[in-house]
C-alpha cells in the first residue's frame, strides 16, 4: 500500500457538501398554484421573492376567482355532475429523473459510527463516485452503483458503513433498481471480501435480522435529511 486514498480527509462543513441548486420556483408547486400563468408567476417571484407578499397573493386570488368561474361555467354548460374538470392542465407533470445528486442526498448525511460527522463530510461518499443507469423500460432493471472510500485502508467498519448505505438505499429506492455498493478501487486491504459481503443479499438480510446491528444502523440513519 503506497498511499492511502482518503487518509485524514479534510472534513467538510455541512454547507460545503454538493447540493442540488434549489430551484426557488419549486415553492410554486408546493403551494398548489395553478399551472395556468405559471410563467407569469415565475417572473413575478423573481422580483417579489416571497409567496406571502401582497403582490403575489393578489395575483393568486384573482387566479383562483377566475378558476372558480371557469370551472363553474364548464360544469354548468355541460350540466355535468361534480366531476373533475379542473385537472386537465395538471396532468402532464414533468419528470424529475433520478440522478447521482439525489442518491448523494440520500446517503451523504448518514453519520459515521465512530465520529459525530457524516459520510459526506468525511468524503466517504462522493458525488463523482455515484452512477445511475436508468432503464427506460420501467419494468426492467435499472442500476445504481455507489463506490465508497473508507478513511483508512484497514478500516474495520467498512462493512458497517456499506450496510448502512445499503439499508438506506433499499428503503428509499423502488425495487426496480439494483443497488451495487463497492469499495473504491485500492481503498481497502480486503476490498474483494468486503464487496462480496456487501452485495450478498442473504448476508444483508441476515444482518438486518439482528436487532442490535439494526439499532446501530438506525442510529447512523437518524441524521439523514
Amino acid at each position: 500500500m503506497s498511499e492511502f486514498i482518503n487518509e485524514n480527509p479534510d472534513v467538510l462543513e455541512e454547507s460545503q457538501l454538493p447540493t442540488r441548486s434549489k430551484d426557488e420556483l419549486d415553492v410554486l408547486f408546493e403551494n398548489e398554484v395553478q399551472k395556468a400563468g405559471l410563467e407569469r408567476k415565475r417572473n413575478l417571484l423573481k422580483i417579489v421573492r416571497s409567496i406571502p407578499s401582497k403582490t403575489f397573493q393578489d395575483v393568486e386570488a384573482m387566479d383562483r376567482l377566475m378558476t372558480i368561474e371557469r370551472q363553474n361555467k364548464q360544469v354548468n354548460d355541460l350540466k355535468m355532475k361534480a366531476l373533475s374538470l379542473d385537472q386537465k392542465h395538471e396532468e402532464d407533470e414533468e419528470i424529475d429523473p433520478l440522478d447521482p445528486q439525489e442518491i448523494y442526498d440520500l446517503i451523504a448525511h448518514i453519520s459515521d459510527p465512530e465520529h459525530p460527522l457524516s459520510l459526506g463530510q468525511l468524503a466517504v461518499v462522493n458525488l463523482a463516485d455515484i452512477e445511475v443507469h436508468e432503464n427506460d423500460n420501467k419494468t426492467g432493471i435499472s442500476e445504481v452503483i455507489v463506490k465508497i472510500t473508507p478513511t483508512i485502508t484497514h478500516c474495520s467498519l467498512a462493512t458497517l458503513l456499506g450496510l448502512g448505505i445499503r439499508v438506506r438505499l433499499d428503503r428509499c429506492l423502488p425495487p426496480r433498481y439494483r443497488k451495487t455498493i463497492l469499495l473504491k478501487e485500492g481503498s481497502h486491504q480486503s476490498e474483494n471480501q468486503v464487496n462480496k459481503q456487501l452485495n450478498d443479499k442473504e448476508r444483508v438480510a441476515a444482518a438486518c435480522e439482528n436487532d442490535q446491528l439494526l439499532g446501530v444502523v438506525s442510529k447512523m440513519l437518524s441524521t439523514c435529511k
Binding site: 408547486f29 408546493e30 413575478l44 386570488a61 384573482m62 360544469v75 354548468n76 385537472q87
Partner: protein
C-alpha cells in the same frame, strides 16, 4: 375595667396557646388582635408575659415553646414605636435569660428578630444579642429554617447599626466574629443567599475588615463554583443563577480579597467543565471591575497568563458551535476580562497600561510572524483597542505595520485572512468612536486607523474588483467590511462614501450570486440610513439608467452586459423598502418608465414586471407612507399611470397587469386623507359610470372601478342602489358576452356594494330567488358574500335558499361549487391595520358563518340518503373549509372527520386537497380522534399516493405528509399491524415522477420502518 381587659387578654392568650401548632393561621390572627390592643395602649406586653408565666416556667417543652412563640408572634405585629425603652430592655433581658433553653431557640430567635425593628432597640442591646449568639448558639444543632432566622437577625442589626459599626471597631469585630461563626458550614440555599448578602455589605461598607478578610473570604470561596439544582416544588424559587450571582457579587465586593481571590480563581480556571470555567471567568471579570486599578496593577500578569491560553486555544471550537444562545462561550467572556483589565489600567495610570500593552503585544507579535492564531491575536489586540480613544491609538500605532507588511505579494487566502483580521479593529473603532448617525462631514483625523485609510480602501476594492467572479467569499467579505467602514463614525469623507455606494451598486447589478446580492443590499441599506440623498442619486439613478438603456430596444433580457431586468427591479424594490423618500422616488421613476413602454405591445411582459414592482412597492410600504407622501405621489404619477392603464393594451388587456395596477390605485386611494374622499368618489363614479359607461356594456375597467371604490371611506354619501341594480341587470343580460375576467370584476362589484353602501334589505329584495338559472344563483352568492362579511341578518335567507338548492338533483352539483365564493378572501376587502373605515368586514365573520352553516350541512348530510345529494353537501363543506382558519373548525372535528373521509372518496382534486389539509392541520389537536379513524384513513391515503387525474402533485404530497404525521400522533398499537402494508404500498411513491414526492415518500417510509423499533442507546 382593667381586670376585664386582663380577662379578655387572658382568654385571647389561651386561644393562642390552644391553636398554636394546630391551626397556625388562627393563632396568628389572635396574635395580631392582641398586638393591636397593645398598639392602642389598651394592654401591656408585661401583662401578657405575666399571664404566660406558668407556661414559660413549665417543665413541658411544648408549653414553653408555645408561650415564647406567643410573645414573639405578638412582637412581630407590634408597631415599632409602641414599646418604650423600658419594655424593650425587659424583653431583651427575658430572651437573653431564656437563651440557654435550646428547645425554644426558634421562638426566641424569631422574637429577637422582631424586637430589632423596634424604635427603642439600642446598640447596647444589639451587643447583648450578638454576644449571646456568638457564645450560645451552635448553628449545626438547628434546622435550616431556624438558621435562617439568625441570618435575618444579623442582617437587621447590620442595617440598623451600620453607622455605629463603622465608628467602633470593637463592635464591628464582634459582629464579624458572630457572622463568621453563624455562616460557617451553612448549606441551605436560602440561607446562603442571605449569608452572601451580609458578607457583601460587610466587605463593601465596614471600614476595617483586614483582620478578618481571610475568614470572610473562606466563608465565601468554599462554595465556589456553586451549583444547585432547585427541587421541583421549591417554595422559595431560588435558582442556580441567583446563588451564582450573589456569590459573585460577594467575592468581588471588596479589594481586600484581592490576594486570595485572584490566586484561587486562577487555580479554578484549570477546571475541565466548561460551565465552571465560565463561572470562574465571569467572577474574575467582576473582581477586575470592582477591585479597582491598583489591585489590577498587581495582578494583570498572572491573569493574562491564565486567560491567554483559553483565548488562543479555545476559540475555534466554541465559535462555530457557540452561537447557540444557551451555550457558554468562554472565548468571548475571556476577552471581556481582558477588556476589563485594560479599562482598569488605563483609568488608573497610563504607564501601567503601556506596560500591559507592550507585554501582550510582544507575546502576540510572534503569531503575526508565524501566521498562527492570527484571528485570536487580532481579537485580543482589538479588545485592548476598543476601550477608549487613547488605547485605540496606542494599539493601532503598531498593528497596521504588522498587517500590511507584505501586502504586495499576497495570495487569496492571505488576503481573506487579512480582511477578516482587519474587521476586528473596525469593530473596535465603532466601539470607541460610535456609529455614523447623520451625513455630517466631520472626520476624526486624530486616530491611527485614519492614517491607513488608503491602504484599507485599496485592499478592499482590489478584493472586490479584481478577484474572479467565482471567488464569492472574498467579495462578500470585502462588501461586509465596506459596510463597516460606512458605519464607522467620522472615518470616511464624502467622496469615499460615494465611491463605496458605487461599488455596492455595480456589484449588485453584475452578480447573480445570492450571498453577494444580500451583502450589497445590507451595505446599501446601512448606507441609505445615513446618506439617503446620495443613495437616491447614485444608486437608484444607476439602476434606472440600466433599466432605460436595456428595456426599449432589446425587450427583456439581453443587453451588452446582459443584466436581467428582474434583478434591477428587485434591487430597486429591496433598497427602497421602508424608506418613504426612496419609495416615492422609485415609484415615480418606474411609472414614468411604464408609460413610456406600455405603448409597445411586444413589451407586455416587461410592463407586467414593472407593474408588479410598483404594486410591491406600495403594498409593502403603505404603512410608512404619510399623507403628504401620498399627496406628492398622487400629483406625480396618478394621472399619467391612470391614462396608460385605460389606454395601453399591454396594461389594459393583460389580466395580471390590470389587477395589480388597479390594486396600486387601491392603496393610493386608501392612504389619501379622508377629507378628500368625497371628491375622489365623485371623480371615480363620474369617470367610470358616465364616461366609460361600464354599466351599459361590459368593460374590463370595471375591475379598476371596484378597487378604487373599495378604498373609499364608507361614510361618503353615495346613492348606490341604482348602481347595484344596474350591475345585477348587466350581468344577467350580458353574461354570455362577458369574458371570465369581466364577470369576476362585476361580481366583485356586487359584493363590494352589498357590503359597503347598499342596505341589506334592498340587496335581498333585488334578488330573484325563484330563478334557478345559473347566472342568477351566481349573483345571489356574490351578493350574499357581501352580507356574510358584514354579519347581516339577511344572510340567513340566502343561506336557506342555497341549502335548498344543494338538495336539488339538477342544480345541486354546481351550487355546491359556488360555496367557495362565500369564504374566499378578496385582497381589496381585507381588514388592514388602522383602516377600519373602508369596508364593513367584521373580524369574526368567517367564524360566525362557519358556526351557522357547518352544523346545518352536517345534519342535512346525515339525513339524506341519496348518494349524489350527499356528495353535494360534502363538496360545499370542503370548499368552505378550504378558506376557513383551522381554529374555527377545531371544535367541529368529531362530526367533520367522518364526513371528510367520505369527501375524500369524491373524484375531485379541490375536495381532496381541502379534506387532507384539514386532517393534517388538526393532527396534533385531535390526534386521538384521528387515531380512531386510522383504519379507514390509511387505505385512502395509500390510494392517494398513486398518481392519477385526481391525485395531483398536491394531493400526493399532502397524503404523504399525513401518513408521516400519523407515525408521530397515533398510538403504536393502531399502526403496527399496518406497518408492513404501508411500507409496501409506499414503494409505489418511491418511484414517483416528481422528486419532491419521492423525498416525502422516503421520509414517510423511514418513519414507518422505525415504528416500534427498540430505541438505540
Amino acid at each position: 375595667m382593667s381586670s376585664s381587659k386582663t380577662l379578655g387578654l387572658g382568654s385571647a392568650v389561651s386561644t393562642y396557646l390552644a391553636n398554636s401548632h394546630v391551626n397556625d393561621g388562627k393563632a396568628n390572627e389572635v396574635a395580631e388582635k392582641i398586638s393591636s390592643q397593645i398598639n392602642d395602649k389598651q394592654a401591656k406586653l408585661v401583662d401578657i408575659v405575666l399571664l404566660l408565666r406558668p407556661q414559660i416556667t413549665s417543665t413541658e417543652t411544648d408549653e414553653r415553646q408555645k408561650a415564647v412563640e406567643c410573645i414573639s408572634a405578638i412582637l412581630g405585629h407590634l408597631d415599632p414605636a409602641t414599646l418604650l425603652k423600658n419594655d424593650v430592655s425587659v424583653i431583651i433581658d427575658f430572651y437573653a435569660n431564656t437563651f440557654e433553653d435550646s428547645a425554644c431557640m426558634k421562638e426566641i430567635l424569631q422574637g429577637l428578630a422582631n424586637v430589632i425593628d423596634m424604635q427603642h432597640f439600642y446598640l447596647s442591646q444589639a451587643t447583648i444579642v450578638l454576644n449571646r449568639l456568638k457564645e450560645f448558639y451552635q448553628p449545626a444543632n438547628y434546622p435550616a429554617p431556624v438558621r435562617y432566622i439568625t441570618f435575618t437577625i444579623l442582617e437587621r442589626v447590620l442595617l440598623k447599626f451600620h453607622a455605629n459599626f463603622q465608628k467602633t471597631p470593637a463592635l464591628s469585630d464582634l459582629f464579624i466574629e458572630t457572622f463568621i461563626g453563624i455562616a460557617t458550614g451553612e448549606k441551605d440555599p436560602r440561607n446562603l443567599l442571605l449569608s452572601f448578602r451580609i458578607n457583601t455589605i460587610v466587605c463593601s461598607s465596614l471600614s476595617d475588615i483586614s483582620k478578618y478578610k481571610e475568614d470572610l473570604f473562606d466563608v465565601l470561596f468554599c462554595y465556589f463554583p456553586i451549583t444547585f439544582k432547585p427541587p421541583k416544588s421549591d417554595p422559595y424559587k431560588i435558582s442556580n443563577l441567583d446563588l451564582k450571582l450573589a456569590l459573585r457579587r460577594a467575592i468581588s465586593s471588596s479589594p481586600q480579597f484581592e490576594e486570595d481571590a485572584f490566586g484561587n480563581l486562577i487555580d479554578k480556571l484549570a477546571a475541565s467543565s466548561l460551565t465552571v470555567k465560565n463561572d470562574t471567568i465571569l467572577t474574575l471579570n467582576a473582581c477586575v471591575e470592582n477591585y479597582g486599578g491598583e489591585a489590577v496593577v498587581r495582578n494583570w500578569l498572572p491573569l493574562w497568563n491564565a486567560l491567554k491560553f483559553d483565548i488562543l486555544q479555545g476559540s475555534a471550537a466554541t465559535e462555530s458551535e457557540g452561537s447557540l444562545a444557551n451555550e457558554v462561550n468562554n472565548y468571548e467572556t475571556s476577552l471581556q476580562v481582558v477588556a476589563a483589565i485594560s479599562n482598569q489600567l488605563i483609568q488608573f495610570n497610563e504607564a501601567t497600561f503601556d506596560k500591559f500593552h507592550a507585554h501582550v503585544f510582544d507575546e502576540l507579535q510572534v503569531n503575526f510572524e508565524q501566521q498562527t492564531n492570527l484571528k485570536q491575536s487580532c481579537a485580543i489586540l482589538a479588545t485592548l483597542a476598543g476601550v477608549n480613544a487613547d488605547t485605540f491609538n496606542k494599539v493601532m500605532s503598531k498593528i497596521p505595520k504588522l498587517l500590511f507588511e507584505n501586502m504586495s505579494n499576497m495570495d487569496l487566502t492571505k488576503e481573506k485572512l487579512l480582511i477578516l483580521n482587519l474587521s476586528f479593529f473596525f469593530d473596535a473603532y465603532i466601539k470607541v468612536f460610535g456609529e455614523t448617525k447623520a451625513a455630517e462631514n466631520v472626520i476624526f483625523s486624530n486616530n491611527e486607523l485614519n492614517k491607513h485609510k488608503d491602504e484599507i480602501l485599496m485592499l478592499l476594492s482590489k478584493s472586490l474588483k479584481t478577484s474572479s467572479n467565482a471567488e464569492i467569499t472574498i467579495k462578500v467579505l470585502a462588501l461586509v467590511q465596506f459596510t463597516k467602514l460606512i458605519k464607522m463614525a467620522g472615518y470616511l469623507d464624502h467622496n469615499e462614501v460615494l465611491l463605496i455606494i458605487q461599488y455596492f451598486t455595480e456589484t449588485a447589478i453584475s452578480s447573480d450570486n445570492k450571498n453577494i446580492h444580500y451583502a450589497c443590499l445590507e451595505g446599501l441599506k446601512a448606507t441609505r440610513d445615513v446618506y439617503e440623498t446620495d443613495v437616491i442619486n447614485l444608486c437608484i439613478g444607476t439602476l434606472f439608467n440600466h433599466l432605460f438603456d436595456k428595456a426599449l430596444d432589446s425587450g427583456l433580457i439581453e443587453g451588452q452586459e446582459s443584466v436581467p431586468v428582474d434583478r434591477v427591479l428587485r434591487l430597486l424594490l429591496e433598497i427602497s423598502t421602508s424608506k418613504p423618500n426612496l419609495v416615492i422616488r422609485t415609484i415615480c421613476g418606474l411609472s414614468a418608465k411604464l408609460s413610456e413602454i406600455s405603448k409597445y405591445e411586444n413589451l407586455t411582459e416587461l410592463s407586467f414586471m414593472i407593474v408588479s414592482t410598483l404594486h410591491s412597492l406600495i403594498s409593502a410600504n403603505y404603512e410608512v407612507l404619510g399623507e403628504n407622501d401620498i399627496i406628492e405621489l398622487k400629483k406625480a404619477v396618478q394621472f399619467e399611470l391612470f391614462t396608460s392603464l385605460m389606454n395601453d393594451k399591454p396594461l389594459f388587456g393583460d389580466n395580471e397587469s390590470l389587477e395589480l395596477l388597479s390594486s396600486f390605485f387601491y392603496f393610493l386611494t386608501l392612504k389619501t386623507p379622508l377629507s378628500l374622499h368625497p371628491e375622489e368618489l365623485r371623480r371615480t363614479t363620474d369617470f367610470f359610470l358616465k364616461n366609460a359607461k361600464i354599466l351599459d356594456t361590459p368593460r374590463r375597467s370595471a375591475l379598476c372601478f371596484v378597487k378604487i371604490l373599495a378604498a373609499i371611506d364608507k361614510n361618503c354619501k353615495w346613492e348606490s342602489d341604482d348602481c347595484f341594480i344596474r350591475t345585477v341587470k348587466l350581468v344577467q343580460h350580458k353574461a354570455l358576452d362577458m369574458s371570465d375576467f369581466e364577470k369576476v370584476a362585476y361580481f366583485q362589484l356586487i359584493t363590494l356594494l352589498a357590503n359597503k353602501w347598499c342596505s341589506p334589505g334592498m340587496v335581498e329584495e333585488s334578488m330573484e330567488f325563484q330563478s334557478t338559472s345559473y347566472v342568477d344563483v351566481e349573483i345571489q352568492f356574490w351578493a350574499a358574500k357581501g352580507l356574510v362579511m358584514r354579519n347581516a341578518q339577511e344572510t340567513k335567507n340566502f343561506i336557506d335558499h342555497f341549502l335548498d338548492l344543494l338538495h336539488s338533483q339538477t342544480e345541486g352539483a354546481w351550487t355546491a361549487r359556488l360555496f367557495e365564493i362565500l369564504t374566499i378572501d378578496l385582497p381589496h376587502m381585507e381588514n388592514l391595520k388602522n383602516h377600519s373605515w373602508n369596508n364593513n368586514v367584521r373580524l369574526l365573520h368567517k367564524q360566525k358563518f362557519f358556526n351557522d352553516v357547518a352544523p346545518r350541512i352536517i345534519s342535512l348530510f346525515q339525513s339524506s340518503d341519496n348518494y349524489e345529494i350527499k356528495a353535494n353537501y360534502l363538496m360545499a363543506l370542503s370548499l368552505i373549509l378550504r378558506h376557513t382558519p383551522d381554529k374555527v373548525t377545531e371544535s367541529y372535528m368529531p362530526e367533520l372527520l367522518p364526513l371528510l373521509l367520505q369527501a375524500m372518496e369524491l373524484k375531485n382534486t379541490a375536495v381532496r386537497v381541502s379534506a387532507l389539509r384539514t386532517v393534517l392541520s388538526s393532527m396534533d389537536r385531535s390526534s386521538s380522534l384521528i387515531s380512531e379513524h386510522v383504519h379507514s384513513l390509511i387505505p385512502i391515503l395509500l390510494r392517494f399516493i398513486v398518481p392519477s387525474i385526481c391525485n395531483t402533485f398536491v394531493v400526493r404530497s399532502l397524503a404523504l405528509q399525513v401518513l408521516q404525521a400519523l407515525t408521530v400522533h397515533t398510538p403504536l398499537n393502531y399502526l403496527l399491524p399496518m406497518k408492513d402494508d404501508v411500507i409496501r404500498s409506499l414503494s409505489r411513491a418511491l418511484d414517483d415522477k416528481k422528486r419532491n414526492i419521492r423525498k416525502l415518500a422516503i421520509d414517510a417510509s423511514q418513519a414507518f420502518y422505525e415504528l416500534g423499533q427498540v430505541p438505540f442507546e
